[in-house]
Symmetry: C2
Subunit: 221 residues, 2 copies
Amino acid sequence: MSSPPKNFGVVLFPGFQSLDVFGPLDVLNILSTETNLNLSILAATLDPVSTKHKQGKISNSNFHESIVPTHTFDSAPKDLEVLLIPGGFGTRDEANLRPAIEFIKTVYPSLKYCLTVCTGSAVLAKTGVLDGRQATSNKKAFVWAKEQGPNVKWVSKARWVVDGNIWTSSGISAGIDLIYAWVEQVYGEEIAGFIADSSEYERNRDSGRDRFAERWGVAEL
Amino acid sequence: MSSPPKNFGVVLFPGFQSLDVFGPLDVLNILSTETNLNLSILAATLDPVSTKHKQGKISNSNFHESIVPTHTFDSAPKDLEVLLIPGGFGTRDEANLRPAIEFIKTVYPSLKYCLTVCTGSAVLAKTGVLDGRQATSNKKAFVWAKEQGPNVKWVSKARWVVDGNIWTSSGISAGIDLIYAWVEQVYGEEIAGFIADSSEYERNRDSGRDRFAERWGVAEL
């Protein structure tokens, strides 16, 4: 058995969904007080990356948050072991997303684990890495996500899906259940349960339990 | 009936808990695509504010995130209507917290709503604003939180508590249930349900349902 991973990266692009990032990272932040972990926050440049995007009915809101990267994709540490890829409306803009896609293609072969939340699986699908693999995605955006990876074995009714070293979750909040399941597998049930109780979080521990596939009409896809 | 609020602020201090902020903000980010809203991210200075803190067993991790403020406490917009106050280990450092406490004291009288997550209620308690009011807090940190406001009517077994215009939630994840309940009351059940389904979130809609008070041994306090 190899030792549990220590070196994490999260991919940011303009218009990422904030909870896709901070649902998992909050759990890992707490884990990092129990075991030695390092986080690199990766983006095309070192400029803060905003959740702002052009989607939605209302264009005159001014309501978004900006996160500070620690590294550019070009200067990413060479020893990354775990990569977290969020989704969000920014995934709909090809030019916006291209630096992230090129980075993921380059880094994937040296990773121990790749985790996606929401339409982060559509981003990963665009790299080709998911071809022939099982994966899930956001249920409201599932039809679009499927189109981003026609050779992926998409699973519509799942809270999360594991195929090899790739863990993909359903939409937004599902990333929290994914990260607890992953922490449980990699670091053990005791610490996963302790962090969930400390965070006062009611886990969905059944990866097949997913009422949102029916809610968004994609259960039969 | 007055119109629903538009102008939101979130208070940041070093060592805030990331999900205390981004659980509620992710919901409000989505709400802001449906109705016109503005967010001010408030801190002592305009320097990015980190989740880094000195607590925990392991001091050699390098695992934290930094958020960019939009305003200092001194330059905050005068028309803030809703203030969100997170918790986190940074609340244990008085000097660290003092600018936030002074700001909250000053701004509270002009707010329509004040929302706290986790030990954010301990921060609010330190201002005196919670004196004589009912409130809850993080259950693992409940004994400490109570000490921060001896004149507060602390409620140990509650997912969240509403007293007048002050909404306080239990620990970390409970802030998500609080914000959905608040959005439901202020903007309506339909939009709250739509955002929860879009986020694939299973709400706890019962403010009295809280197994974590027993888990952390504070149900009888």
